[in-house]
């Protein structure tokens, strides 16, 4: 897959037609919602737009979060019925419902009907959109879980193409490489993350099971110490 940010050139071709049902299904790491990565598959650059789907009533649909990116978001129920929690209010939203969540507002949803699908659009007022890493991270781990470590590594490494350095970016890549069995490369990324912000890395590193494959290596003790 190709990484996309607002600074990258558009994909070739003037237009395309697709069905939301044809989008990839990416299990959201750690909580099990199903991300359908619309923005990446289209190469859409102006702002964030993705789809979440659930097959059965009661399934998780939108991960609980507060959008600390500063993005305001609009959720559009495309199909089925979603049970939203917005702030402290919980309500059922049938197809055609529009839910607006300002940045910082808690939001989550489960499916109240089988085959529910919600489109989520988001952007930050006054700022040009730059794709963050979260889509690539979840896709890369899904590719690894599906047995395609090479594709996962390629997706993960897209995040390193960003010009702005981030400890978290290198830390996430280290986690991926640790689980993929590429320990030398994982240590290299972990070392870079520590150089960028040792305190932040140390808040995660002691308990992070992603790094378990590295813990018996003397290099881990050296870095953690």
């Amino acid at each position: 897959m190709t990484g996309v940010s607002s600074t990258e050139p558009a994909k070739p071709g003037g237009y395309e037609v697709l069905s939301l049902d044809d989008l990839d299904r990416v299990p959201y790491r750690g909580s099990g919602e199903v991300l359908r990565p619309l923005r990446r598959q289209l190469g859409f650059r102006p702002f964030g737009v993705n789809v979440w789907s659930a097959d059965a009533a009661g399934d998780k649909l939108i991960p609980p979060h507060e959008e600390d990116s500063g993005h305001e978001q609009l959720y559009v129920v495309v199909r089925g019925t979603a049970r939203f929690t917005l702030g402290e209010e919980t309500f059922d939203a049938p197809a055609g419902t529009l839910v607006h969540a300002p940045a910082g507002t808690f939001r989550a949803a489960t499916a109240a009907e089988p085959a529910t699908m919600v489109l989520a659009a988001g952007g930050k007022a006054g700022e040009a959109f730059v794709a963050s890493d979260w889509e690539a991270v979840h896709i890369a781990f899904a590719q690894l879980d599906a047995g395609d470590a090479a594709a996962g590594r390629a997706t993960m490494e897209e995040t390193l193409a960003h010009t702005e350095e981030s400890w978290g970016r290198h830390y996430n890549v280290a986690c991926y490489l640790a689980l993929a069995g590429e320990h030398d490369a994982a240590f290299e990324q972990l070392r870079t993350a520590i150089e960028l912000d040792r305190d932040k890395v140390m808040t995660w590193l002691p308990e992070d099971s992603d790094l378990d494959p590295l813990r018996d290596d003397p290099r881990f003790q050296e870095l953690a110490g």
Binding site: G13, L42, F44, P46, E72, L86, L98, H100, G126
Partner: protein, 211 residues
């Protein structure tokens, strides 16, 4: 209010026959562009035929998702029949695109913005939003809607031109002349439009009207 249904949105019938259902305006969304469209009848226009940019001024990338019903899109001269859950993504802003509804109660969701730039509220939203007031010849309200949009984009030629139209119709002739002159200073093409525009009938013979 943070929650609504697409059927509860304002329903603004446009002169070309399609119906604008303003979503961005409803929630005052500032981070991106999003609206819905419906048609007056099966076979009627649901997305007006248009392009999103011109050579040298590349505009929005746009996604059109059929939320309900069916629609026939024509993009760059090619027809595509889309059912609910299908979309067309128009990457090239220069391509002309439009759609007609093929079923009752068809709804199209449109999402768009300009890559690499903070979202700006499109000037056409004020022009569309003023249509009901203009239809009722409520020029005070039509002028207010345009003036409010102009506060955010004071040098937008099309907004200035349309404001001048409303002012000319509303009897505010000096304001109309000043705003029309400014539109023409920013983009001389508006002088040609003005000379053929019946909205300016009352001020065409005034000194200062673009010759």
């Amino acid at each position: 209010m943070s929650v609504t249904h697409v059927d509860q949105l304002d329903s603004i019938e446009m002169p070309d026959g399609f119906v604008w259902r303003p979503i961005r305006r409803h929630f005052d969304i500032r981070g991106f562009g999003v609206n819905a469209y419906t048609a007056l009848e099966v076979g009627g226009m649901i997305v007006e035929e248009h392009a999103e940019g011109t050579e040298g001024d590349l505009g929005h990338e746009e996604i059109y998702l059929v939320l309900r019903g069916r629609a026939r899109f024509t993009v760059d001269g090619n027809d595509h029949e889309l059912a609910a859950g299908q979309l067309v993504f128009v990457r090239n802003a220069l391509l002309r695109r439009g759609a007609v509804a093929l079923e009752e109660d068809t709804v199209v969701l449109a999402l768009g913005g300009k890559p690499g730039e903070p979202h700006k509220v499109s000037a056409w939203e004020a022009m569309f939003g003023a249509v009901p007031a203009a239809r009722e010849e409520n020029w005070t309200e039509a002028i207010r809607i345009h003036a409010e949009a102009l506060e955010e984009q004071p040098e937008h030629p099309a907004l200035l031109y349309n404001l001048a139209c409303m002012e000319a119709r509303g009897g505010r002739h000096l304001d109309a002349l000043l705003h029309l002159q400014r539109a023409v200073e920013l983009d001389p093409k508006w002088a040609d439009y003005a000379r053929k525009d019946s909205d300016f009938a009352a001020i065409m013979s005034e000194p200062g009207f673009p010759a």
